[in-house]
């Protein structure tokens, strides 16, 4: 058993500032290579989208039974991705798991950016995208409202609420760090960070308000995270189609969301650690904890999968049973079994300690887990459409280049937003790492801690007299 610390508690506070601020200056070359690859990917998607917009949705190869395709499965995938940020930043914050502190910032950024990516897909797949705002209940002189019974209009509410809340949460959590950036920047940057840090000086009163707001936002965000994916699952569960009309879909979707999100956190963890030389902060101990969390969620997902299969198998819906059988044996069988293998067997790699500590292995494993989760979304959307109730309309759709390009480009778009974020904003929370170091150090030696971080004239908390 290797016993190591979440963080080196001897690290100096000034050192933390310096290390994190350095990440905003000179990343490795790999950062720039990834950055330009992302731009190229987005360019592919833009070209494809212009072509699709001009010509019509037919260029995607979607057809009569197969009205939804990769756009919707990718949409669900990105929405799912957004859940882990909330898990790390809000849920773990409330239960006082302080190991989250060095890694929650980028996870929260991931939430926001994957929502921004996901938000594109319902629009891209609309037949008449220029009328998309009809889904929103805006004030109209004609008195026309959207259909409040439709899960798609719930989607519009849920996603926009979650997006604005998580953006706000990301921003609020960053204020003290932005002030540090402001204090260390010059020229234009100083103005930018100055404006963003909202006049933060770090007074007691500001900290008190900050803590309260942060906790409030965390509490507000958790039910939103659960609701948003439950509502996305209603897009399917509220229909009457076999394979979609499943009661266990909301928890199944939320579990899948947390799963893919945690896997993505592992991927990005390894990438950031490498790009910005964050070995001191993104330690192996934290990696291990993230892996264990992912493993637990993987098992929950597997369990819910089994529940869904069992409920269908022992249920009395012959159509649903037919779809289940065709999932496992039909044209999508290879996707189905890859999903099962990568989603339920591969995570056992996370249970082996020496593998958990080996970054290249974990990188591959985390990508495989997300591959499985992408396949899961495809297996939710596609088989029901291609093999539902009307046998005359059984049809297998193969996505065209246009669909592939846009889906491919969405990964570039997400990557681009994320890479810009980590370069412009501190991707490791400085004040919270200091807090973590402070608490850890106190546990070991209270006196040494005092000596390190208090100037002789400072008042100590709890003491009225200067020490």
């Amino acid at each position: 058993m290797v016993i190591d610390k979440d963080i080196n508690e001897q690290i100096k506070w000034a050192q933390i500032n310096a290390d994190v601020l350095r990440s905003m200056e000179n990343p490795r070359k790999a950062y720039w290579i990834t950055f330009f690859i992302c731009i190229a990917m987005v360019a592919c998607a833009v070209v494809a989208e212009i072509y699709q917009y001009q010509t019509g949705l037919g260029v995607t190869n979607l057809n009569n039974p197969h009205m939804w395709g990769m756009y919707i499965s990718t949409f669900v995938f990105w929405i799912g991705m957004s859940h882990s940020g909330t898990l790390l930043s809000a849920i773990l914050h409330i239960i006082h798991a302080d190991w989250r502190k060095p890694i929650y910032r980028f996870a929260e950024a991931m939430t926001t950016f994957s929502l921004l990516t996901a938000g594109f897909f319902p629009l891209i797949h609309l037949g008449r995208v220029w009328n998309f705002y009809w889904v929103v209940p805006y004030v109209s002189s004609r008195g026309i409202w959207p259909n409040f019974r439709s899960p798609l209009s719930w989607d519009a509410f849920a996603i926009s609420t979650y997006l604005s809340a998580s953006m706000l949460f990301l921003f609020i959590g960053m204020i003290p760090d932005l002030a540090i950036c402001r204090d260390n920047a010059k020229g234009f940057k100083k103005k930018l960070y100055g404006a963003l840090s909202l006049g933060w000086v770090g007074s007691d009163r500001q900290w008190r308000h900050f803590r309260k707001t942060y906790l409030l936002m965390a509490c507000f965000l958790i039910p939103l995270a659960v609701s948003v994916h439950s509502i996305v699952s209603s897009d399917f569960a509220m229909s009457i189609m076999p394979g979609w009309h499943v009661t266990s879909f909301p928890p199944y979707f939320v579990a899948g969301a947390l799963y893919s999100g945690c896997a993505a956190i592992i991927t990005l963890f390894i990438m950031l650690r490498y790009f910005f030389r964050f070995e001191e902060y993104m330690t192996l101990a934290i990696m291990e904890k993230t892996c264990k969390l992912t493993f637990a969620i993987a098992m929950v997902w597997t369990y819910l999968n089994l529940i869904e299969f069992a409920a269908t198998w022992y249920g009395h819906d012959p159509y649903a049973k037919e779809v289940l059988i065709s999932k496992a044996t039909g044209p999508y069988a290879w996707i189905f079994w890859t999903m099962i293998f990568c989603g339920s067997v591969v995570p056992f790699a996370l249970a082996i300690q020496s593998w958990r500590r080996h970054m290249p292995t974990m990188f591959v494993v985390s990508l495989l887990l997300n591959l499985s989760m992408y396949f899961e979304r495809w297996m939710i959307v596609a088989p029901t459409l291609s093999m539902s109730m009307e046998p005359h309309q059984f049809y297998i759709m193969y996505a065209s280049v246009v669909q592939w390009a846009i889906v491919f480009g969405s990964f570039g778009w997400f990557g681009l937003l994320f890479l810009v974020f980590v370069k412009v904003f501190p991707s490791v929370s400085m004040y919270e790492v200091k807090e973590m170091v402070f608490h850890r150090r106190r546990l070991i030696n209270e006196d040494a801690e005092t000596a390190l971080h208090r100037r002789t004239g400072d008042t100590q908390p709890g003491l009225t007299q200067p020490a």
């Binding site: 010509t55 019509g56 949705l57 037919g58 190869n61 979607l62 057809n63 009569n64 039974p65 197969h66 009205m67 939804w68 319902p122 797949h125 609309l126 037949g127 008449r128 995208v129 009328n131 998309f132 009809w134 889904v135 008195g143 026309i144 409202w145 959207p146 259909n147 409040f148 019974r149 439709s150 899960p151 798609l152 209009s153 519009a156 897009d235 509220m238 229909s239 009457i240 189609m241 459409l385 539902s388 109730m389 009307e390 046998p391 005359h392 309309q393 049809y395 759709m397």
Partner: protein, 278 residues
């Protein structure tokens, strides 16, 4: 659909299809299709193309499944060694069943598809934003999407002169489906109103019923006790608003497709008579 309307009529909205839904119907347009008379000639489908300005999408797009045949003839072959292989193909004209409690209606985010007091599922092309959810939730898969714009390609001059002026040509990005020739219903209703009389049965029929050489398709208003279609439904003891028929005589051929889903289809099919002894 305004909020005021929702609040004031909440209790009636909540009524299920079994209790007659929330509509007081003026008409209940209904069909009966006798499969024993159907010879699979596709005349109904062709008539539908001509009447409703349906675009001919071309071979390639048809093979891709992007056709827009509001009325399609489904062909089923009996597999060898099963039921009735000697009878060969059987045909089933399939169009929108104008369900009494249609699954397409609640899922549309912009309420572009709704129920009319005539018992039809109306599709408002102008309101449709093309989310295609209605089609995904239709067990019959009879909703067709304009994947391309056909305005110029499907009716090159002088073919544009054949377009029916009574209804629009749909552009790309909207959903469309069989309307039971709502434009004919409209004209007939207006005419009856002008002449201050009630609509007569057989005064007009849909294009498919008109074109059927064997008169397999019967169209009419079941609320009219004199109507031919209403009599057929009665004769075959097929009731509306139920998900399971209770017939006194199980030999009667009338049935509705997918009625066990409680969608309450408005089309009754009469089973094909099979003679296995031949």
């Amino acid at each position: 659909m305004s909020l005021k309307n929702v609040f004031e009529n909440w209790s009636t909205y909540r009524k299920g299809a079994e209790e007659g839904g929330y509509h007081t119907y003026e008409h209940r347009w209904t069909m009966a299709i006798n499969l024993d008379l159907c010879i699979g000639c596709n005349a109904c489908s062709t008539a539908c193309y001509a009447e409703n300005n349906l675009a001919v999408v071309g071979e390639k797009r048809f093979a891709k499944g992007q056709a827009m045949h509001w009325l399609r003839i489904e062909r089923y072959w009996d597999e060898e060694g099963k039921d009735h292989p000697e009878n060969g193909a059987s045909f089933l004209p399939m169009m929108c069943q104008q369900c009494g409690s249609a699954t397409c209606e609640p899922v549309c985010p912009v309420a572009a598809t709704y129920h009319t007091p005539d018992g039809l599922n109306a599709q408002v092309y102008n309101r449709c934003i093309g989310s295609r959810y209605c089609s995904n939730n239709c067990p019959f898969r009879v909703r067709y999407f304009n994947f391309y714009s056909y305005y110029e390609s499907a009716w090159p001059e002088p073919l544009n002169l054949q377009l029916n002026p009574d209804l629009t040509v749909r552009d790309k990005g909207v959903m469309e489906k069989c309307t039971f020739c709502v434009q004919r219903i409209r004209v007939a209703k207006d005419k009856a109103k002008m002449e201050n009389r009630k609509l007569q049965d057989g005064e007009f029929v849909t294009a498919c019923a008109q074109a059927c050489p064997t008169s397999a398709i019967v169209f009419g208003d079941t609320l009219n006790p004199e109507s031919k279609v209403g009599k057929l439904w009665k004769q075959h003891q097929v009731k509306r608003g139920v998900y399971k028929q209770t017939k006194e005589d199980p030999q009667l051929r009338g049935y509705r497709i997918f009625e066990e889903l409680n969608v309450d289809p408005s089309v009754m099919y009469l089973e094909r008579v099979r003679d296995t002894t031949i």
